[in-house]
Each structure stands twice: as structure tokens, then as C-alpha cells.
């Protein structure tokens, strides 16, 4: 058997279908990666090179745009704001959402399904419909332009997301694990924290990462609920793109865009082992 296995895969490598699949993969990669490539490329161009037609791929790279814009638009503070808000809302949502997801998955509760569904339905409301009421509430409470406001606002859509993902992870675990822990001397909380959480860690981490990315790139709430002090990177980008006085500054746009994307890419690369594991098996390893 084992002697024949390589021969089979050698044949598979040479089939037409296999080659077509590889071609399709390359095509999809180009479609998705080219805009990012172009953005990074443009961010290192001088103003004159940006608008040459036909576009140039070879030019003298410069950091001028970065240097200039970092100073002008308060980009560093906005990056810090974005990190605070993404981390804060991600962590808050993971704590609340994970516990709620566990309750929905395990505890026999009258109407648990309905509760879960209602929380999920709240995601069906278009964010634009919530933004203005949220602004009014925030102003009444004196909470506009504060980090905590954005953290709470993002949690409204991150918690249902975390809850439903984690509920799936927990449902995939055999309930005998907790039962065994409870016979071994744990309370229900003890079983959750000592057994279930450590096993769910890959799923938990990938959910946390996705939540933080969602918060990282959120624009609408940030636009409505902040103006200066707590404003985030997406707002800055929108500001540059929508500059009606001077026209869009493409150099600045691509430079700030690169700054926004790079941390996410580095972060994803660092945690990709967890990410893939969490997505692939939902933490069920017996």
C-alpha cells in the first residue's frame, strides 16, 4: 500500500483537472492581491509618478508621503485609538460572548433558542439605522468622542458574532467532559474554566482575532460617535478620500491604507497557526 501511494499522487499531479485548479488559484490570488500590491506600490511613489499613464511599475521609491502625512493628520494618535478600541471591544465581546455562547449551548433553559435567535436577529438591523440613535444616547450621557463609547458600540455587533461562533465550538465538544469534571470535583463554573475553556482556546483565539479585525476596520459608528479625540484610522482614510476642497490625495490615501493593513497582516501571520486550527476543527480533539 505505502509503496503505491506516491505513484498515485504523482498521477494526480499531472491530470488536467489538477492543473486547471492551480491556474484558477493563481487567477483568484491575482484578483485579490493586485489592489493591495498597487496600494503599497503607490504609497512609495512621488506625486508625479502616481498619475503617469500608462502606469509605471519602476520608479524611485520615496518615503515622502509617509513622513509628511504622519505629521499632518495625527495618524499616530489615530492608530493608538484604533488599537485601544479594537482590543477593548474584542476582549469585552469575547468574555461576554463566550459565556453567553456556553449558556446557549449547554444549559437547559426555557426559551434559550428564542433568546439566541433574538440576539442574532439584532445583527439584521442595518448599522446605519442604529448609528443616529446611538449618537443621541451617547450625547445625552456625555459619552461622545470617547474610547469607551466605540468599545460599547462595537460590542453590540461583536457579542452576537462571538456568541454564535463559540456556541458552535461548545456544541461540538462532548458534554461528558463537563460531566466528568463535575464528578471529579468541579462546579459548573470550574468545569467551564478548567476544562472547556482550555480546550476551546484555538477557537476562542480565532474568534477574538476576527472580532478585533472587524472593530479595526469599522467606519460608520466611528464616524458618527467620534470627531477628534477618539477618532480611528478608517475615519482618517474616509477624510482623505472625501476631501472635497483639495481633491483626493492618492499618495496619502495609499500610505495610510498601507499603515492600516500592515498590522492586520502581520498579526494574522503571527497567529495563523491558531487561526487555521480554530477554523478547521472547532477545537474538537478527542
Amino acid at each position: 500500500m505505502s509503496a503505491r501511494a506516491p505513484a498515485v499522487s504523482y498521477d494526480a499531479r499531472n491530470t488536467l483537472g489538477h492543473r486547471l485548479r492551480i491556474l484558477a488559484g493563481i487567477f483568484v490570488s491575482i484578483v485579490f492581491l493586485f489592489p493591495i500590491y498597487w496600494m503599497v506600490l503607490t504609497s512609495f511613489k512621488q506625486q508625479v509618478d502616481i498619475f503617469t499613464n500608462p502606469p509605471t511599475f519602476f520608479f524611485e521609491p520615496t518615503l515622502a508621503t509617509y513622513k509628511e502625512y504622519m505629521r499632518r493628520a495625527d495618524i499616530v494618535r489615530r492608530i493608538v485609538n484604533t488599537i485601544i478600541v479594537a482590543a477593548g471591544s474584542g476582549l469585552l465581546s469575547i468574555v461576554v460572548g463566550t459565556m453567553a455562547g456556553y449558556a446557549l449551548a449547554r444549559i437547559r433553559l426555557r426559551g434559550a433558542g428564542t433568546i439566541g435567535l433574538i440576539i442574532l436577529l439584532s445583527r439584521g438591523v442595518p448599522p446605519i439605522a442604529l448609528a443616529v440613535p446611538m449618537f443621541l444616547v451617547a450625547r445625552k450621557l456625555g459619552l461622545t468622542d470617547k474610547h469607551i463609547t466605540l468599545i460599547l458600540a462595537y460590542s453590540t455587533f461583536l457579542i452576537p458574532y462571538v456568541m454564535w461562533l463559540m456556541r458552535g465550538f461548545f456544541l461540538a465538544l462532548p458534554k461528558e467532559l463537563e460531566e466528568s469534571a463535575m464528578i471529579d470535583g468541579c462546579s459548573r463554573y470550574g468545569a467551564f474554566f478548567k476544562i472547556i475553556l482550555p480546550i476551546s482556546l484555538p477557537g476562542l483565539l480565532s474568534t477574538l482575532i476576527f472580532s478585533m479585525i472587524l472593530a479595526w476596520e469599522e467606519l460608520l459608528f466611528a464616524l458618527v460617535l467620534t470627531n477628534r479625540y477618539a477618532s480611528t484610522i478608517p475615519v482618517a482614510i474616509a477624510g482623505i478620500a472625501g476631501d472635497t476642497v483639495n481633491g483626493a490625495n492618492w499618495g496619502a490615501l495609499t500610505a495610510v491604507g498601507t499603515i492600516t493593513v500592515v498590522p492586520v497582516v502581520i498579526f494574522a501571520l503571527l497567529v495563523q497557526k491558531w487561526l487555521i486550527k480554530g477554523l478547521a476543527d472547532g477545537a474538537t480533539k478527542g
Binding site: 461528558e176 460531566e179 466528568s180 478527542g286
Partner: protein
């Protein structure tokens, strides 16, 4: 003290009652098997003893203390699950020591008890492995080790061998029996496999449809089944049944009017009866019930013959070898004590003897 008293225990899920007043008294050190077809309520009863299911009515007492409202962790029991429920992120050592850690037993004491259990079960070389690096049989042993280190009042086993292949199952069965003889801890063992129940237990409780059909030592159930259900459930291959009418002079008239001579009379003097004869109690003889051999299956130590008696297929188990060939006309004799009489009723259809 590892006594367990189950008194008039009932369980309902909403309007559906699944246990209808079960009473079982289990003595300290006893090995009791709860056996029955799936859905008979045996696992539910075990989970109620463990505290994993609430009790709808009646009492359960462990060591003379009513535990109806006691949390599982405070019942001083250990349980082995069908899927073992080993903690996948902990190695074997920590899996076995977890319960002791929860009870704040000092570390040297935990190490001592884990090592002792590992020695008994032959797990010493596996203590640093994770559960996923173990074979099915090894996982099963770890699950038992986890129970042993606790030194609990009662061991609960919920179909612990069902996930193992046939050969390993027989081996682990012997190990469980040996373990019980050595530790003498009260054990309640749930299984759907009557062979497991018979070979392991001091006492077998046969359950069906949420009630106890019969309880007693294994051989008593085999020799004197109280109902058609128990007769059909206990024994492998299963008992043969014939329905008919008792006629004058100790005869049984079957549906097709064949009359069989009965060597014994029904002690209850019924007119319509079902009689049962175990395959191993038929003797091929000069005189007796006429039958035609249709299949002969030798296994070496014994031979199973399927024959047609009055149009009905019956099974005969003969020690050693036989000269009978398909198509042969044979005569079957039965000693009087080996005929079981039951009320005439439909024969329960059970798969237990086959799938186990």
C-alpha cells in the same frame, strides 16, 4: 460505606415518564449490572445516581445518605463514560490526578496514588502522553485509572467497552472483573450486552421500558427467567420459543397442528402457552421432537445447527462436532427441567445477542 439504595425512583421529561418507580438495593462491595435494550432507562438511572440528571420522584441514597439534592462532586463517586471523556489538553498523569487536585490532596500523595493506579493498569510508560496519542484500549484504561485514584464509595460505568473492538472488549472485561475483585469497591455497570452483564456482575438487573423485569445472580436469570422478555434477553444464542395449546397427556399443539410431547407439565396449568428451550439444552437423540437440519455451523469447540421444527426455525447448540448434515431428519430430546413455560404472548424481538 458503598451501599446504594434506590427507592421508587421515577424520572419524567415533561409529560413523558421514562422510569416508573425503580427500587434496587446494592450492598457494599457488590458488582451490579444494569442491562436492557436501548431506551430502557438504564443509563438515565445511572446518571441519576451520579447526579447528572435530576430525580423526579423517589430517593437515591449512597452510603445511607440521601443524595437527591447533592451535587455530583459531593457524592463521592467516580464514573467511566462510554467515550471516556478524557481531558484532551491534559496528559495521562494530570487526567488521573485531576480529581485529587480538585480536592486539594497534597502533591506527593497525588503522585503516589497516580503511580499506584498506573502500575495496576500497566500505564506507567504512558503517563506523559496526551489522550489523542493513545489507542482505544489505553484510553479506556486511563478512564478507569481516573476512577481508581479517587478511591470512591461507588464506581459507575456507562457502557465502558462499547467503543472497543470485539477482542479488546473481552480483554478489558476480564481486567474490570479482576480490578473489582482486587479493590472490592461497589460498582454499578450499565451495558446493553447481556454477556458483559452475566460475566461481570454479582447481580444482574434486567430493565425494560423503565421498569425492572427481573433481578438476581446471573445464573438464576439464566436458569429461571421470570418473563418472556428476560428469557429472550439472557443467553446467547437466544432461547427458542414455540407457541401452542396444551392438550391432554402432556402434549403441545402448535399452530400447524403438529403435536409435540412435553416431558414436563406447566406448573401453572395454562392452556395457551409459549415454551422456551435454550439451544444448548437440545440433545440429538433416538426419540423426541422431529426436525430437519438446514444449516450446520461448526466453530470447533461447538456446532450451531439451525433446523426446521414444524415449519419454524430453531437453533441447536451441540458441544464438539456432529455428524448431522443439511437435510438430515433428527430427533430432539429435552430434559424436563430445561423447558420454560410462559404466558402466550408475542416473542420479544431483541437484537442484543447478535450485535454485542
Amino acid at each position: 460505606m458503598g451501599t446504594v439504595q434506590i427507592r421508587e425512583v421515577r424520572k419524567s421529561y415533561g409529560a413523558v415518564q421514562v422510569l416508573h418507580g425503580i427500587s434496587i438495593d446494592i450492598e457494599d462491595g457488590e458488582f451490579v449490572a444494569l442491562v436492557g435494550p436501548s431506551g430502557c432507562g438504564k443509563s438515565t438511572l445511572l446518571r441519576m445516581i451520579a447526579g447528572l440528571e435530576s430525580i423526579s420522584g423517589g430517593d437515591i441514597a449512597i452510603g445511607n445518605r440521601v443524595v437527591n439534592n447533592v451535587a455530583p462532586k459531593d457524592r463521592d463517586i467516580a464514573m467511566v463514560f462510554q467515550n471516556y471523556a478524557l481531558y484532551p489538553h491534559k496528559n495521562v498523569r494530570d487526567n488521573m490526578g485531576f480529581a485529587l487536585q480538585q480536592r486539594r490532596v497534597p502533591k506527593p500523595e497525588i503522585a503516589k496514588r497516580v503511580n499506584e493506579a498506573a502500575r495496576i493498569l500497566g500505564l506507567e510508560h504512558l503517563l506523559d502522553r496526551k489522550p489523542r496519542q493513545l489507542s482505544g484500549g489505553q484510553r479506556q484504561r486511563v478512564a478507569m485509572g481516573r476512577a481508581i485514584v479517587r478511591d470512591p464509595n461507588v464506581f459507575l460505568f456507562d457502557e465502558p467497552l462499547s467503543n472497543l473492538d470485539a477482542k479488546l472488549r473481552v480483554q478489558m472485561r476480564s481486567e474490570i472483573k479482576e480490578l473489582h475483585q482486587r479493590l472490592k469497591t461497589t460498582t454499578i455497570y450499565v451495558t446493553h450486552d447481556q454477556i458483559e452483564a452475566m460475566t461481570l456482575a454479582d447481580r444482574v438487573v434486567v430493565m425494560n421500558g423503565g421498569v425492572v423485569e427481573q433481578e438476581g445472580p446471573p445464573l438464576e436469570l439464566y436458569d429461571r427467567p421470570a418473563s418472556l422478555f428476560v428469557a429472550a434477553f439472557i443467553g446467547s444464542p437466544p432461547m427458542n420459543f414455540l407457541q401452542g395449546q396444551i392438550i391432554e397427556g402432556n402434549g403441545l399443539r402448535l399452530e400447524d397442528n403438529t403435536v409435540l410431547g412435553l416431558p414436563a407439565a406447566d406448573p401453572k396449568q395454562r392452556r395457551q402457552v409459549t415454551i422456551g428451550v435454550r439451544p444448548e439444552h437440545f440433545v440429538i437423540a433416538e426419540t423426541g421432537w422431529p426436525a430437519t437440519v438446514s444449516i450446520v455451523e461448526p466453530t470447533g469447540s461447538e456446532t450451531q445447527i439451525t433446523a426446521r421444527l414444524a415449519g419454524q426455525l430453531i437453533r441447536i447448540l451441540v458441544r464438539g462436532r456432529t455428524s448431522a448434515m443439511p437435510g438430515d431428519e433428527i430427533r430432539l430430546a429435552v430434559t424436563p427441567g430445561d423447558i420454560h413455560f410462559f404466558d402466550a404472548a408475542p416473542i420479544p424481538e431483541l437484537a442484543s445477542a447478535e450485535d454485542a
